[in-house]
């Protein structure tokens, strides 16, 4: 009986491999667990966009309330896709949406905001990409949920959709607001 079972071993091995492939291929390799989760926001110093108020210049600007911090750029196609969702979130008034434009020129950012609308509260801009490395960013858009104490509680990689907002971010923010 056990001898016959041996003949099923290759089948079992293939089944296990298939299992790995099916799970593995559906996962997005760009989605990395952020080591910054539950860590305080790194210190930073940024200029604001010229002529646009209010600016996001330092960590203190983010503290005291739960906020969304969205990394974007005028070069980023997926940001444009996310843009109307951010506008709706800002309009809803549950949480302020701050932005950091990176790898961008201030003129380009301003033109982009003029053309597509400006869903942000404060905006900081960074042309060196140093701030992106500080936050462990790999691309745009990426969005952090930061609590009242300035601790990173969630990182959304890729555009926020209405569904992600309703199912993940809004409940989390409501929880954090109560706490």
């Amino acid at each position: 009986m056990t001898r016959k079972l041996v003949y099923f071993l290759p089948l079992l091995v293939v089944a296990v491999l298939l299992g790995f492939f099916i799970v593995g291929l559906q996962r997005d390799p760009r989605e990395l667990p952020s080591v910054l989760l539950d860590q305080p926001v790194p210190e930073f110093a940024l200029p604001g966009l010229p002529g646009r108020e209010p600016p996001l210049t330092e960590k203190a600007d983010l503290q005291g309330e739960v906020v969304l911090l969205n990394f974007f750029g005028s070069w980023c196609a997926a940001c444009l896709q996310e843009h109307p969702v951010l506008q709706r979130i800002q309009d809803e008034g549950l949480v302020p949406v701050h932005g950091i434009a990176f790898k961008d020129q201030p003129d380009d950012t301003l033109r982009w905001l003029k053309r597509h609308g400006d869903p942000y509260d404060r905006i900081g801009y960074d042309t060196t990409n140093r701030i992106a490395i500080e936050f462990g960013i790999t691309g745009a858009p990426e969005t952090f949920v930061i609590d009242k104490a300035g601790v990173i509680r969630h990182k959304q990689i890729g555009p926020i959709t209405d569904r992600i907002w309703a199912e993940t971010l809004r409940p989390l923010i409501e929880d954090l607001n109560e706490g």
């Binding site: 760009r30 990395l32 080591v35 060196t128 140093r130 992106a132 490395i133 462990g136 790999t138 691309g139």
Partner: protein, 187 residues
Amino acid sequence: MTHSAPRHRIARASRLARAAGILLAALLAAGAPAGAVEPNEMLDDPALEARAREVSKGLRCVVCQNESIDESNAEMARDMRVLVRDRILAGDSNAEVEQYLVDRYGDYVLLKPPFKPTTYVLWFGPALILLGGAVAAVAYYRRKATGPAGPAPLSPDEEARLHALIGDDEAGPGAGTRTGRDQGGSA
């Protein structure tokens, strides 16, 4: 004429050899990873630049998955190369530069995974699988060496049937003639 012909041939042969050598060198050069470091990124101090190259080769370009920042042309990789050089200029050791990026991107940013409890499976897994295979192979050949157990002995029913078929002792009517003809044919 008779002299110039061979000399001409030798010259042509040496030209061919030289061309082949150049081609080979070019192919080898193309095969080696050239590195994506731009001259304007490099540090003036060759010793510091060499350290920067060494650190960069062990750091993963986080947008291209399987290239080091030293090889990648991605903008993100360029920014990280510049950062590595800035940290080195600021007096960081190689390990401190690596730790700086690990603090922000996790162990993922290291091309060589660190040796720690969460990666033991990664480090020992292949050796364990090899060991398992070796144990299985030894067991298999040991059993083969002692000889196979052989098929189970026949039951009385089977034995009776076998006797009937080969016509042992109480042979059937046709069995005898068939055996006789066979013997005749072979003789």
